[in-house]
């Protein structure tokens, strides 16, 4: 008696009791589908976040000033940033990020502006993509040249055209304005927005050298946040530590723990950890429903054994051995669980995409998840099927034949 024979027999018996078989599977379906949905959404979230982080830069370290302890003299100056890049061997890029709200006027139009200032390294650190022109260079940074890179939507709104390289633009606050030359246009990162929203309503995003920004707004020119990028993954830690050391030396504040270096990837690990624990927890709760489903399978298999006592008697009378009967019922419970598992997998994936589109997470379905789901549902079928199957196999042939 081979496996195919058994599977055929089991399918026939499952098919002859369609409704009941489906209801039996329901527990497994609900269990597997909720586990799949939770896990693939969780993993999808992790992937999305990881992707975002990798775009910003896997080797990026954020140096921060603890503003609860720091005095004004502890803040990081533009000269500090320059020294960081020159003196610390592992640092490839370094830039502060200043963010200021201001105004931008073209001959046609006036607009709210969101101005970002950094070194020329901001181009790499922020992973900026240009549609036209170029980013400002070191010389322009050093000299504090009035050059600006503006967002694509700002170009359209301010000049009614896209390639505005070479145009002039007044940028500043209500009190002080200065004439800038546009040297670059940033590719629109989110295309969807510019189509859907009127670009006139979006603030203009403008990049300029931090030196220029400092002059323009008459700022002190010190910051609490500097991004550095290490030259390799291995040197992330050292670059951060050396940067902190150098800053402490320059400001003479060693021991006060003013500066902190935090690799962005480490933050990512933390987020992923939390997300992982959360996913595991919710999946575990969902897995309990799988156990309940398993108990349902056992229950129905016990009913089925009782109902089919006479059939078992007949089979034994014509020569079925203990193993034949055991295997027959076990196959049936495994197939019920497996079909439940496969349906659960389908519903789970569909559910993950459905929920994901609402929550804005694209689910990630790993082959591992799929394999584990199938194996797990088979295991449930074996575990909860073994007792009813043994009960069937051990029936006394003559007692079973007499059963009405």
């Amino acid at each position: 008696m081979n496996l195919m024979e058994n599977v055929k027999m089991a399918l026939a018996s499952i098919w002859s009791n369609k409704m009941r078989s489906f209801l039996t599977m329901l527990g497994i379906i609900i269990g597997i589908s909720s586990v799949i949905a939770v896990v693939s959404l969780g993993q999808g979230g992790q992937h999305t976040i990881t992707g975002e982080f990798e775009k910003i830069g896997a080797n990026t370290v954020l140096i921060t000033v603890d503003s609860s302890k720091a005095e004004l003299s502890d803040y990081i100056t533009l000269e500090d940033v320059k020294q960081l890049k020159e003196k610390v061997p592992y640092i490839r890029y370094a830039t502060p990020v200043f963010q200021v709200q201001g105004q931008a006027n073209s001959r046609l139009k006036s607009k709210r502006a969101y101005i970002i200032g950094g070194t020329s390294d901001l181009y790499q650190v922020d992973n900026i993509e240009l549609a036209y022109g170029r980013f400002y260079n070191d010389a322009e940074y050093e000299e504090g040249k009035p050059v600006a890179i503006i967002s694509n939507s700002a170009a359209k709104s301010l000049f009614k055209m896209e390639d505005v390289v070479g145009m002039t633009l007044d940028i500043g606050s209500d009190f002080a304005k200065k004439s800038f030359t546009v040297i670059g246009v940033v590719k629109n990162q989110i295309e969807m927005f510019s189509d859907m929203t009127n670009e006139d309503n979006l603030p203009a995003i403008i990049y300029m050298p931090a030196t220029t920004l400092k002059q323009l707004f008459g700022m002190y020119g010190a910051t609490t946040q500097v991004y550095i990028v290490a030259d390799s993954k291995e040197n992330i830690e050292s670059a951060g530590n050396l940067a902190v050391k150098l800053l402490e030396n320059r400001h003479g504040n060693r021991g006060r723990e003013i500066y902190k270096a935090e690799p962005l990837m480490k933050q990512l690990d933390q987020i992923n950890n939390v997300l992982g624990i959360f996913t595991t927890f919710v999946a575990a709760v969902a897995a309990i429903s799988l156990l309940v489903g398993g108990v349902g399978v056992m229950n129905i298999m016990l009913v089925s054994v009782t109902e089919r006592t006479r059939e078992i008697g007949i089979r034994k009378a014509i020569g079925a051995r203990t193993g034949h009967i055991l295997f027959q019922f076990l196959t049936e419970s495994v197939i019920i669980s497996c079909i439940g598992g496969i349906l659960g997998l389908i519903f789970g994936i569909a559910g993950a995409y459905g929920l994901g589109s609402i929550a804005g997470i694209s689910p990630y379905i790993s082959p591992g998840t799929v394999i584990i789901a199938i194996l797990f549902s088979s295991a449930v079928g074996i575990f909860f099927g073994i007792y009813p199957a043994r009960k069937a196999a051990r029936l006394d042939p003559i007692e079973a034949l007499r059963y009405e």
Partner: protein, 230 residues
């Protein structure tokens, strides 16, 4: 072939004990056709179940084809039921969810016969009981006589040496009874040993030998005079 010596069978239901067979001895030679008769409750079915290795004897000895059956395990008995014995029951005992063909194939499934050979042998067995149509139907879709013929086909498909039939015509009318008896006589003519329980003297008259029981004992055992031959 079949030899039982001083066999007893005691049923125990908690406190209550019932001795259904009180020391029965019987010897059946190959090719015999024995009808077992006796009043209701005298132990005929009990005897058949013991001979068919469906139930175990309480004491005594049972030798089937030279083998002492009383010492065998459950799975060894299943093997004997599969290979050496064909059962025909009063209530047919076909599996309702399987087709007729599948029912006849089932003993060969347990014997490990490959699918193609199974099909051929099942068709052959069905042909021998004159049933070549409706074989893709379920048992509930054919008549009682046809069902019993299916049961006979299933009983002979593994070419057993013995057929045990417990009131095979008990649920059938006279006309159909004759058909069934013709088939059983044919099988016997081909060399199969037959033991058959019946209440009706007319049916017993198809056999070659009659064993009479009463109260768990054999009280008479004689060859049939003026046997009905079909």
């Amino acid at each position: 072939m079949i030899r039982i010596e001083n066999v007893t069978k005691v049923y125990r239901n908690g406190e209550i004990q019932l001795t259904a067979l009180k020391g029965v001895s019987l010897h059946v030679k190959p090719g015999e056709f024995v009808a077992v008769m006796g009043p209701s409750g005298c132990g005929k079915s009990t005897l058949m179940n013991l001979l068919g290795c469906l139930d175990s004897i309480t004491s005594g000895k049972y030798i089937l084809n030279g083998k002492d059956v009383s010492t065998l395990s459950g799975n060894e008995l299943a093997y004997i039921r599969n290979k050496e014995i064909g059962f025909v029951f009063q209530s047919f005992n076909l599996l309702p969810r399987m087709t007729i063909l599948e029912n006849v194939e089932l003993p060969m499934v347990y014997a490990g016969v490959p699918a193609r050979e199974r099909r051929a042998r099942a068709l052959e067995a069905l042909a021998r009981v004159d049933l070549s149509e409706r074989i893709k139907h379920r048992p509930s879709e054919i008549s009682g006589g046809q069902r019993q013929r299916v049961a006979i086909a299933r009983a002979i498909v593994n070419k057993p040496s013995v057929i045990l039939a417990d009131e095979p015509t008990g649920n059938l009318d006279t006309k159909v009874t004759v058909e069934i008896m013709r088939i059983i006589q044919q099988l016997n003519d081909e060399g199969v040993t037959v033991l058959m329980v019946t209440h009706e003297p007319d049916v017993a008259n198809y056999a070659k030998r009659i064993v009479r029981m009463k109260d768990g004992c054999i009280i008479d055992d004689y060859p049939v005079q003026n046997r009905t031959v079909l």
